[in-house]
Subunit: 438 residues, 3 copies
Amino acid sequence: MDTKKSLGSIGDELYKLISRLFPICRSITGNGVRQTLKIMQEYLPLQVNEVPSGTPVFDWTVPNEWNIHDAYIKNMKGEKLVDFNDSNLHVLNYSVPVKGTYSVQELKSHLTSIPDKPEWIPYRTSYYQASWGFCLSHSQLQTMKDDEYEVCIDSSLKPGSLTYGEYYIPGQTEEECLFSCHICHPSLCNDNLSGIAVVLWLAKMLSTQKNRLSFRFLFIPGTIGAITWLALNENKLNKIKFGLVATLLGDRSSFTYKKTRNGNAIIDQAVVHFLKFSGDDYRLVDFSPYGYDERQFNSPGINLPVGSLTRSQYGQYPQYHTSADNLELVIPEKLEASLNAYLFIANILDHNIVYVNQFPKCEPHLGKRDLYKAINAENDQETELRKMAMLWCLNLSDGNHSLLDIADRAAIPFELMKEVGEILEEKGLVKRLESKLY
Amino acid sequence: MDTKKSLGSIGDELYKLISRLFPICRSITGNGVRQTLKIMQEYLPLQVNEVPSGTPVFDWTVPNEWNIHDAYIKNMKGEKLVDFNDSNLHVLNYSVPVKGTYSVQELKSHLTSIPDKPEWIPYRTSYYQASWGFCLSHSQLQTMKDDEYEVCIDSSLKPGSLTYGEYYIPGQTEEECLFSCHICHPSLCNDNLSGIAVVLWLAKMLSTQKNRLSFRFLFIPGTIGAITWLALNENKLNKIKFGLVATLLGDRSSFTYKKTRNGNAIIDQAVVHFLKFSGDDYRLVDFSPYGYDERQFNSPGINLPVGSLTRSQYGQYPQYHTSADNLELVIPEKLEASLNAYLFIANILDHNIVYVNQFPKCEPHLGKRDLYKAINAENDQETELRKMAMLWCLNLSDGNHSLLDIADRAAIPFELMKEVGEILEEKGLVKRLESKLY
Amino acid sequence: MDTKKSLGSIGDELYKLISRLFPICRSITGNGVRQTLKIMQEYLPLQVNEVPSGTPVFDWTVPNEWNIHDAYIKNMKGEKLVDFNDSNLHVLNYSVPVKGTYSVQELKSHLTSIPDKPEWIPYRTSYYQASWGFCLSHSQLQTMKDDEYEVCIDSSLKPGSLTYGEYYIPGQTEEECLFSCHICHPSLCNDNLSGIAVVLWLAKMLSTQKNRLSFRFLFIPGTIGAITWLALNENKLNKIKFGLVATLLGDRSSFTYKKTRNGNAIIDQAVVHFLKFSGDDYRLVDFSPYGYDERQFNSPGINLPVGSLTRSQYGQYPQYHTSADNLELVIPEKLEASLNAYLFIANILDHNIVYVNQFPKCEPHLGKRDLYKAINAENDQETELRKMAMLWCLNLSDGNHSLLDIADRAAIPFELMKEVGEILEEKGLVKRLESKLY
């Protein structure tokens, strides 16, 4: 890793957590998930829930629990060629148990490699179709020239439960912002662990401040976890005003924002505002019903405006779903910048006040209230910007524009608009419209 | 004609019909129209209607019927210089009868030629102002150096009727799609006969399939025919949901679509969708109150969203309204492709179903219904496209989006969306919203 | 001035008025304003109003009246270095009286110059903070090397009144268009006097024609004048449909239009239409709550759609608020063109009729009413344009489109559409919708 790290930074903390979670073999159910959530509880008192196998969840059923103890391919001399202990990606995730001797032909129909990237092990799953298999590097595969091999997958697939984590920070209102990340990928860093680490820290940080919004954090297995949570919490959905699905937050790419199905929801407005003023390049992608759990949140019967803010795009970086999505790919600085972005957006949403100008007829007399002094800044350019922010806030605070609306129209950063709004509020020139946040 | 024709193709059939109709001297009334419709009845049992001269139709009156038997200009030696039997374009359409000897000066005020195209005969009319005249090539005109000429137009202009053809295909609902073409041009191929042939065949083809929409086909003289039909059928107009005016469909140009006055009607959406996925170049033109009978259909008191899909644009090709708009200009292949375009658009409109997802909460479990198999295609790219079509269809089938809306948003061809919709319907995942088509 | 002037032109009249008003020392109150309005009354019988100091106007209070008789800086030899009689810009506008001997250090904290433009005197004010000061050229400042200077500002700041001018032209309806300009700047030509001259002449010209709209003209001190007028005339505001703030109308720049807060008001539509067909370059600027009195008119509790049409932009030309904004900067030809623009826009607004087609079903028969003759023009291109204007007017006169809407959609100049509308009205094809103009 060629990136300079400042010891003790939050980026390093995020990276350390990822390093601890990396070796665990996670899946959509099983002890890997439990172990992961247990380590996370050292950082945040999140609630861990178990939903029994067989529970009906909308059109789906919680599956049997999968656990794995060992797996290997040996040649007939007893030498292990492929060993689960070297990388948990070697086993097709959710493989049924198998033990026996197989001809090389039969075995090969159970093997997956990536010819283009001969040193990387692919990551594959078969959750809903009973199957077994191994994933291995193409160079490993090419050495397999014997006639027969001994194969063992010591897994179990039995009634148990689906495990997920949840954390809730009550705010002044019950209106909620949701952050969700999947926790079902085994030793993959950017796709999974970066999201877990960022959302965990986001929850830690938001829990230390007083919020108007409530915040909910879900650490759930992909697809079935989202479906399960939504099915079991339908009565809570009307409180959720918007949300983000978090993952792919540690690599070197600039940000990608995939919009909600609505495309023009407040979460879209907030993220786009953040990106516009971030000073960095970014990509905006329209919603499509594919990708991560935004698929479920944006389904027509759930209809929650949930976007997804990532760095690289789903499926669009070479290391995606391979052993190269490892501790080399994610960088403390980028993790920290991702956390800051999420925190910034959460704060926009939390502070997106609708003010009402108390002196709406013409401009109020700013001089007599020392407002020009109150907004004075270090240099003329900054003072001018703050003056414009103040005039825009007064001009558009007619009860129909939120602070974010005003910041967008004025092309002024939200944080400056917020600061100026607070000065105007203190001086009695504007009052908050408090009835409802969103 | 340098185009290769495959014998027996529909293009050839269309071309053959045009060839049969080409020699007839049509006008807005008279035996030429009757003869034309009679030949068309050999192909389709269309209804022929006669509206008596003098019938008031909105602000207009059905004019006297015009018929012509012969016309010529002879020099004083008795040689015919201009002869109606050579080309019916030679006579100013709707000329009053005339017989006598004229000085060359007086005669020339009744002659029209195109100096820029000295070999072409122009096509001119004078329906509503009693007048007579001849059209001739500029090179013919330049030979006329005698002092006097003998002139004869053996025409009649007497009470009779306006003749038009109509065909109606009842569908499952009374909601209607209208196709209209003018039948008043004499020996002109692209402007007139190409539209007649395409619409006739379209009617033939749509009459052999089961449709949800009803379809109406009008074969009418331009302007006065449209006004007459609309005036006599006002009680039917509320059934007409949209329509197209068809002409200029046989030349080599790519398609031009002139939008409805509304500009954003369903017919506009359907035609634009077709053009986008056609793989060919095309032109979109905003509505203007000039051109063909879309002028009447889009008038404020009629207000039907009727566009016009042509190849060349009205008045924008050199041969327009000249003797060069002849059998050389139109091509079987282009006629057939035009017919296919109209049929494709009719089918989009007919199949533009609103589905309602029966499992709208999260995604339904596709695997357990073998849906991934059902959409399997020959290659991975096609399978992926069909999977995306399926996910889009499920995601947007909330009762507010038609299949065409979904296809547009997903940027997936309508026919693929339709196919996938039918699979989902068969599997019980979606149901049709049947109350009303449009 | 290198511009050729045609003697006796309106541009020269405007320029002459500006020349007469130029020497007067105006401020937001005082005799300079009275003197200015008195000269203006020679041209137009405008009403002059006096509002007593201390009158509460919304969040403000009408200030004490300021008058000035003399001001200078002398060296200790008694030589005048800075003299109010040379330029009234030398005194900080609204300076409190001062008389005494000051050290050069103390004096310099009261002096303002422009180092970048060493020969120009800046214009500065201090209306709401008791203060005194001098403005001078940087080269003057640099000669001041003595230890002490004698300073005198012989001004008075006492209860009196705020003076403004108003003129009202009643129309057929009470619906109003407002034109406003500020009259508080001393010897500055483009910023102030150009607006005064143009609006005065606009009023003269509109008062000689019969209008459907009523027109109101305000000649008011900036900010406090607008606030005062609005506070004292709240009951009239519902009559005002739109307006323009006029200034910066004499320089060589092409036009700049600053839109209303709404951004899509009828005044925006009218000005943009004018600019599009003006044949000149122009700039469109979105509303911002800074600039001239459009700030007050567009405040949330007043909410009048008032834009601002200027040549150079507020604060964006080098001579802005300096002694270089003088009689050299403004040009008769540009003043006259500005007046013509304002007059053109006023006439668009006044003639922006909604017609209703009386023959809305299909096109009316134009030939039988000699309409093709009625619209005949000198050349074919012009005749064709007039024919299209007529067809568009008939097509869109459904009660939902004004003449300006139709002109915009047809991309035809308003004046042509107006002319054609009048022909159609005369022929009985359309009737005016008279209930309400806007």
